[in-house]
């Protein structure tokens, strides 16, 4: 091909066009990101703003974007009238009691599905996936009856023990995919050295599974932290409640027969307070979190 002025200018304008196209794409991306960001952020902003208003401002006929005078006192007031601190501590405790169990048993099960061949394995795998399809209401009543036969109602057992018995189907699936993506060479090398399956799991695989395990931990934390239904059903005593359940004491319905003073501003403050730990967790764990999902190569 002859490089002459014509071709040079043609290629230059082509690359200029490409650059312009890329700039447009970049601008468009930014525009969309910012628009989505605004849509997602607006209600969050509203939550924070409402948490700093008085209930009269909230309930007045002209909704206020920004409080006239930020009621910082709403936050300590919230902690005074409800044992929010206690409830959040309870949530932490439940997570502390259940998450290690969930990770342990999910890893064990995933290991079994990924690394071993045995009769019935694939059938059990399908069954495990199938459990994701069962609507929770099918099992709810008998599970409740089972737990009260054990005397576990109004304790944390129904909320923690099930985690130790396999965790969730989703986490098992995630971890199984992840383990399958780790080449067996390392396993085989360890076997040569005389390592048993437990040592292989603990010393070879688990260190390599950090991103996936972080993902599982973050998802488990989120799930338990915001879980409303479980504690709602199983806990009766106020001092055992978790924050998610405690919120219902702040809704409008709770005010009907007393002083008529709504506590929505406190509800929003509580929502803000509750969201804080998980946001922090997500920020810290973000990189591992995404990596964990990537490397597990979600395919069905």
């Amino acid at each position: 091909m002859m490089i002459n002025a014509a071709t040079l200018s043609a290629s230059r304008s082509a690359s200029e066009q490409a650059r312009r196209r890329r700039r447009i794409t970049r601008l468009l991306t930014y525009a969309l990101l910012i628009t989505c960001g605004l849509i997602f952020a607006f209600p969050l902003f509203w939550t924070l703003s409402s948490s700093l208003q008085t209930w009269q401002e909230l309930r007045s006929y002209k909704p206020h974007l920004i409080p006239a005078v930020p009621q910082w006192g709403n936050y300590p007031h919230l902690f005074q009238i409800q044992p929010m601190a206690r409830w959040m501590l309870n949530s932490f405790m439940i997570i502390f009691l259940s998450l290690p169990g969930g990770i342990l048993s999910a890893t064990m099960t995933a290991y079994a599905f990924a690394r071993f061949r045995y009769p019935g394995r694939d059938v059990w795998f399908i069954i495990m996936l199938g459990t994701m399809m069962i609507p929770s209401q099918v099992l709810l009543i008998p599970q409740y009856l089972l737990f009260f036969k054990f005397g576990w109602i109004n304790t944390y057992y129904p909320l923690t023990v099930p985690s130790w018995l396999g965790g969730g189907a989703f986490t098992i699936f995630l971890l199984r995919q992840f383990i399958m993506s780790i080449p067996r060479d390392l396993d085989e090398a360890a076997i040569m050295d005389g390592a048993g399956p437990i040592r292989i799991l603990w010393q070879i695989l688990v260190p390599l599974m950090k991103p996936a395990l972080t993902t599982v931990a973050v998802l488990g934390f989120l799930g338990t932290w915001n879980d409303f239904f479980g504690p709602f059903i199983y806990l009766n005593k106020a001092k055992l409640f978790t924050a998610a359940v405690g919120l219902q004491f702040l809704t409008a319905a709770e005010m009907i027969e007393t002083t008529r003073e709504p506590r929505d501003h406190l509800l929003m403050a509580a929502a803000a307070v509750m969201s804080l730990p998980v946001i922090l967790l997500f920020i810290l764990a973000q990189r591992y979190f995404v990596q964990g999902v990537v490397l597990s190569g979600i395919k069905m």
Partner: protein, 491 residues
């Protein structure tokens, strides 16, 4: 009679007889005494190898007499000694915390061997929780299955709560300490199942912004007067309605009537009819002329003339809307009026006024009393102590505290009213309603939850003014839905 009775049979018959003694005595206070009797009976039976049933019975009767005598003599001392228990007490979360603690502590001061654990239940799931606890055998000794929430009959029919007549008779409790209607509420098939916990005369009135009447030069009716006719009320609704300026809701709505079984029943009663028949089995809307007239009135206001707000249209609720002059009046009961008084803020905009419904043709006051009782769990092992505690809660001090400290509407005792009248003159207005009010006609099958859902969902359709439905059609739809619920078997 030739068969030789085995020893096991003898003991079995002996213990059955002894249980009979137990039940007839029915005084948990004397548990110790009864146990002794049991042993004696068994011994007697064993000595005599040949047993004729008649002989057994005679012996038992004799022993029984002895027991009763001892009880009478030692009643007081026994009572104090027997006041020893670890009990739990379930109540709703919105009963503010100082009151329950004060009641529990003051009771322990009187009887130091009694400890009461507080079990707080959120409004949203208090009954499912209580039923689940009953099924698990952990229902607190003192619990609640409110009449006005339609839970009482299910609880009684399913053996969840125990009758208190024995206790009341033994104490010779004067049930006239409470307004009769509230005692009646706790009765079912001739037995009483608790003592009044809360109660108010609702709904029975309309709270009005009397400033509007003043501005229009109309003389406001006396708060206790039942002379204002429905026609006059209707006139005022239209007079004070202020249409919207452009798009959006009205500047001022004429009246707000919340959808629920209470409002339907009270309105039907105001028009000389009933919503649910007294025996709780028939829906009279769609069948009874008076009831139909009542709902037609409401329909016209809501759908045809649009002078009532749609659900959710009053963002801040009825009370705030009324206090800010956006709502001329709203239907409520005595407790609502007291709450309205607390809500008024700017006297230039709103002043508390009250309109009672007009006396019916049969002389009664249109109302539907609301209330509930403190119950004792049927499985409680501390029945007697629980009874003492219930009297403590429902007595004069307890009731006054319930009103003043817990901010509840417990207008159940005449002797509590003087203290409350000092708090607000509004309590004066409702004294007659408390004495003469009309009781609820609860569904005979106790299916309150289904009834509430059927009413809420069908009435919102019927009164939907964005997509109106012809009155007759809506009424039959409503009637059929409610009748279906009333036809269900016992819950």
């Amino acid at each position: 009679m030739a068969s030789k009775l085995s020893r096991r049979e003898l003991i079995k018959r002996g213990s059955i007889a002894a249980t009979g003694v137990l039940l007839s005595a029915c005084q948990p206070k004397v548990v110790e005494k009864v146990v002794e009797v049991t042993r004696e009976v068994e011994k007697v039976v064993e000595k005599e190898k040949v047993v004729k049933e008649t002989v057994e019975v005679e012996k038992v009767v004799e022993k029984e007499k002895v027991v009763k005598e001892t009880v009478v003599v030692d009643a007081q001392a026994q009572k104090k000694a027997a006041m020893k228990a670890e009990m739990s007490w379930a109540f709703r979360a919105d009963i503010e915390q100082p009151w329950p603690t004060e009641r529990a502590d003051s009771f322990t001061d009187m009887y130091p061997d009694v400890h009461i654990e507080q079990v707080v239940l959120a409004r949203s799931d208090m009954y499912p929780k209580e039923y689940a606890m009953h099924a698990a055998g952990t229902l607190p000794d003192i619990c609640f299955f409110y009449h006005s929430h339609f839970q009482q009959w299910r609880a009684i029919e399913n053996g969840v709560v125990m009758p208190v007549d024995e206790f009341a008779n033994n104490d010779q409790l004067d049930l006239n300490e409470w307004f009769p209607v509230f005692i009646d509420m706790g009765m079912y098939k001739g037995k009483l199942y608790g003592l009044p916990s809360w109660g108010w005369s609702g709904w029975d009135c309309i709270t009005i912004n009397s400033l509007l009447l003043e501005e229009a030069g109309i003389e406001a009716p006396e708060p206790t007067s039942h002379a204002t006719s429905m026609d006059t009320i209707t006139e005022w609704i239209f007079k004070f309605y202020d249409p919207p300026k452009g798009d959006g809701p009205a500047e001022r709505f004429g009246i707000s009537i919340g959808i629920g079984d209470i409002s339907f029943e009270t309105l039907c009663r105001a028009f000389n009819g009933y919503f649910i028949s007294p025996d709780g089995t028939k829906c009279l809307i769609g069948e009874d002329e008076n009831a139909n007239q009542a709902v037609k009135w409401w329909y016209d206001l809501a759908v045809t003339e649009k002078v009532t707000p749609v659900a959710g249209e009053l963002a801040a609720g009825e009370y705030v809307a009324w206090a800010e002059g956006k709502l001329a009046m709203f239907m409520t009961g005595s407790l609502g009026v007291i709450n309205a008084e607390r809500t008024t803020r700017d006297p230039q905009v709103c002043k508390l006024g009250n309109i009672m419904f007009p006396t019916r043709k049969d002389g009664k006051i249109p109302s539907q009393m609301r209330g509930g009782h403190w119950n004792i769990s049927a499985a409680s092992k501390n029945g007697a102590v629980a009874w003492e505690f219930i009297k403590h809660l429902s007595g004069k001090d307890g009731t006054i505290g319930f009103n003043l400290v817990a901010n509840q509407g417990a207008l159940v005792r005449p002797d509590a009213l003087p203290y409350l009248k000092g708090k607000s003159p509004v309590y004066n207005w409702f004294e007659q309603n408390l004495m003469d009010g009309m009781i609820i006609h609860a569904p005979a099958n106790s299916r309150g939850s289904e009834l509430g859902d059927a009413i809420a969902q069908n009435a919102t359709r019927w009164f939907d003014r964005r997509d109106p439905m012809p009155f007759e059609e809506g009424m039959m739809m409503f009637h059929d839905a409610v009748q279906k619920v009333l036809d269900l078997p016992m819950g």
